[in-house]
Symmetry: D3
Subunit: 236 residues, 6 copies
């Protein structure tokens, strides 16, 4: 992805991005029921690299499976490109973990931009202290082998009721995670940047006591003029 | 509502209020599955002003609907009386937002006492920093038009499985939100104030090592006598 | 339980314990959907003492029932042994409280090691400030009489989809709660202590930039040798 | 509504109607999680007449409330126009009944075209034997006063996650219920009639052994020609 | 229980019983989410005999446990008294069976009046053909050892969110199952018999075209007079 | 698969198969929450051929996508081998259809052994009349494009919380569907056949009045001897 797009997406909210997507008829791009473990970090931005889990069958998932260097979960952790976001399809099942702090640490050290699962992480208190954005549904101590078996890397998946294709641009903030289709990333980033300037202007006006009617959206000519002045004054 | 009642309700807990309501046969007045975004604030207290959403039909809810100054959501934000609590029936559906930080800021500036939805707010990190109590189920970035259409203002609604009639007294603390029927507000406020004094006394005794048997409830004469002395000493 | 076992369990995570249990074919020992109210405390460790609730029938549960000193809920609070963990079967129903701050305070003063419910606590902000580990699903202000009736003390129960037998060893950390069958507690504590040393070693290596392949699990001879040196250097 | 439209809608399936609505961007018009009690009847067709329930507050809902002839539930039953469909917003809560066999019998005798709730009916075995189409989530014996309080007649509501406006055309078959916006009813009825002819043709062909590729949809010229012949032969 | 009470309860509906219980403040006596496997049978009536399951721990539940004649599940089947109803607390978890056709057949042969679980039965097609009323949530083929461990016989339990005490009178019809507290069984049976006569009268009138206003409830003098004549004519 | 195995599996129940799998440590092979549309048919037996859906993104799923002969859903219908069972991963989401009667008819004509989805079928009344076993969660009229996008054919999937690998043997009866790992199919079929003979014997004995103690399981020598005689007499 373009650096300019990455920079822009680092400064807008998932809420604003959802609205920009809504305008294009995309209503289901916000990953449902996930939250950040470390909400104080900057936005997570990067193209999606995916990992797909299916239910674990007991005979195929003894603790020894990880002795295989080719196990898809471990391969995903070593192969997810720096700057990308690892997105895991855990079938919205958080009764066992999707991954733990050691794997997330390895991703961080490798320069991966973030990790998202629609299940849960184990070692969640440790992950919450790492400097890599991580999103899940809830903490879950049981090893992933209890319920999840990794079968595919970098295929289209579902995550939290959202379609995620490899290369889609994933953005996370303190509210949650939105998936921007790859071909729209540049234009959505630009539009959301514009929208953010306007929302910042409106917020200032509202906090000064102005009514939202005519201002948000700016159906009054005065509102549009004031915004133009504000942008000029702020250099935005 | 009476100022005395408002003052009293500002100093009691939703748990105590639930017990006072339970004694009158009212078992379902605690709004289920909502939590405060800004739990450090003082109690939220005020009469309910309501907003009702139904599912959004796509053709009726393009982004342009907000250009209509008469849109019920925007009207609710401008018309909710200062001192009141805006309670939104979002059908317990948090997959899209009920409102965002700009509208909540406007409510705050207008002197509204708080806002409650059984769905979710967008811009939740910003709302968490505002000085107006706000309660929801979970953060939700998608615009409300994705799933919600505002249709009514100040009618009886359901919110989190509780019946909310306009004018009912809504109280929120760090635990959640309780709805006190309007005609009971004064007596419930008085009774809860008495109960709180007793609970404070019991807590002190328990922390000193006293058994709860005979003390809570005060079936021992000694417990009742000790409470009388405690009240006198404390001037409560 | 042995003091050595208690000490060891105080220093390992629920995630590590789940893996040790998984190796023995026990896949369902992590209590689902509970979280700590006071995650900053040290691990909760102690044998289970149980309390069983059934749905409350209205005529049997007026507010006056607590005037009976023999009420099972109150008896449980007074009889749970110091050092034990009170585990409550609330049928995963958090619509009304399992207990409140006064009872939890009494447990704390009596030296009880912690309290767990698969429902919710009332007065949760107060409980969050107590120095006794407490775990629940979510805050819930309504009195327990609304939905729960205590019927049994110290019988086998289900809690969060886990079988809990009196005397099983219950361990909680900032992630959640795991139930270790009584007869396995010593060996699991020993094994988890070993595993924790290895995980600490791996974490250090990973943060230094080492790949997880061959290291975690240590299929490379070098990894095993490095761990041996690490242990010697650390005295673990 | 036009008789021609009513006649057409009596002969098409809810599945076909959903597809016609999907083509117009309407994706959420099928009432979720309701089923017919009497699936052997002909299609239910009629404009929506609505009834809105909120949660029942105990003090407002003693058994005596029905002595009030003006009670909205009873009024709805007497005022729903012949040929219309009574649609009830029960907030997807089937733990208590939305109505029972006596009220449904009265609707039948009055010539009402059908009844739908996203809750449950009581006396469901009796209703299943009546000659009026009825749809609900599941049988539910408790009186509606237990959980539901009727507050509004003929306002926009949600039912099974669908927006229902008074006058929308409601169609039910053995599969479920779809809501057609009033302004689209005529064109959707016409289009669905055409689609049904084509689907009947395709079904015959498929049962004769023909591949769906090129036939469904008819991307092969031959498929379109065969359909034209089929229509002529059948007079459709 | 009295034979007269049993006979009366055999002829009234669970809906009518729920209303009679509602009048006494008992709102939660209908077992939620269970349905009859064999709805064509006569009413199920009998005192409750209970069986309590907790989650199965893998090491305690190999297939060999049933070699123990004292296993509580098997004991319950042999000890449930003729004329009683076996009610099983399966924690509303139907992912594994509560029992299968062989055990249900044994209960039938022993003269037990029925069986209820808030989980699921295996061999459900066979059970549906037996002449003993059986109620469950949904069919479930996995052996009960997969998820359930029987621990108690004839203790108070929860079943489908209802408190069930041994000896409570359990009544099932084609709609579902209601639990009548033991001490109320006689008076509820008598009252429900009266109510049923009135409802039968009302149904006849409604089917003849009479309005429900003034008739149901009979606030019109004429309605009460007509009912008196009807009873006399029918000998009820 | 071997014809002998297919024949044997046609005559045993999913319940018996679940028990045989349980004995081998496989506890999660019963597809949760699906039911047969046409329960009167003989057992469904065949190797799994899979189809994987992810959430539908609006811009990729207009009604025109089916004009592409290579669309994975249509390809799956034409390529699923005769004798195989088409198993669809619909992420347990029945809000839109997985397929409709035309596609299921085509599968039937092609000799496919059955179809399973953990979502829902549209045209379910028509499918219920076809002579091909079909299993789903509930009827669902909306076209699959509303929520589902087919992306993969014949890869490992999850269906109703069960891992399904291509070639696993899928068996369905009136109760539901079980997945037998391919390498175990022959031995499980043989063992289940033996178990079925014993269960038939036990059922006969129980219906004659014999106690289950000592008989089921046959811990009494007499029970084992009686079974031996029974087999000889029946030629089983």
């Amino acid at each position: 992805m373009k650096q300019e797009t990455r920079d822009r997406l680092a400064k807008v909210s998932t809420a604003t991005l959802c609205t920009a997507l809504f305008k294009r008829g995309l209503r289901h791009q916000f990953i449902q029921e996930v939250r950040p473990l470390n909400p104080g970090l900057a936005n997570m931005v990067g193209p999606a690299f995916t990992l797909r889990y299916i239910p674990a069958r007991e005979d195929l998932n003894p603790i020894t499976v990880f002795q295989d260097r080719g196990h898809p979960q471990r391969q995903a952790v070593e192969r997810c490109p720096p700057g990308a976001v690892l997105v895991i399809d855990s079938r919205k099942d958080a009764r066992a973990a999707s991954a733990g702090s050691i794997l997330v640490s390895r991703l961080m050290v490798r320069g991966v931009a973030g990790i998202v699962t629609d299940g849960g992480f184990r070692d969640s208190p440790e992950i919450a202290r790492l400097a890599i954005p991580a999103y899940h549904h809830r903490p879950s101590a049981p090893t992933n082998l209890t319920l999840h078996q990794a079968v595919d890397i970098d295929v289209p998946i579902g995550c939290g009721d959202v379609a995620v294709f490899p290369g889609d641009v994933v953005v996370g903030d303190a509210e949650g995670v939105v998936v921007v289709p790859a071909h729209l990333a540049d234009e959505i980033a630009a539009e959301a940047t514009e929208m953010t300037a306007f929302e910042d202007f409106v917020t200032e006006e509202v906090l000064k006591g102005r009514s939202i009617l005519g201002l948000y959206p700016p159906t009054d000519e005065q509102a549009r003029a004031d915004f133009a002045s504000w942008r000029q004054a702020r250099g935005r």
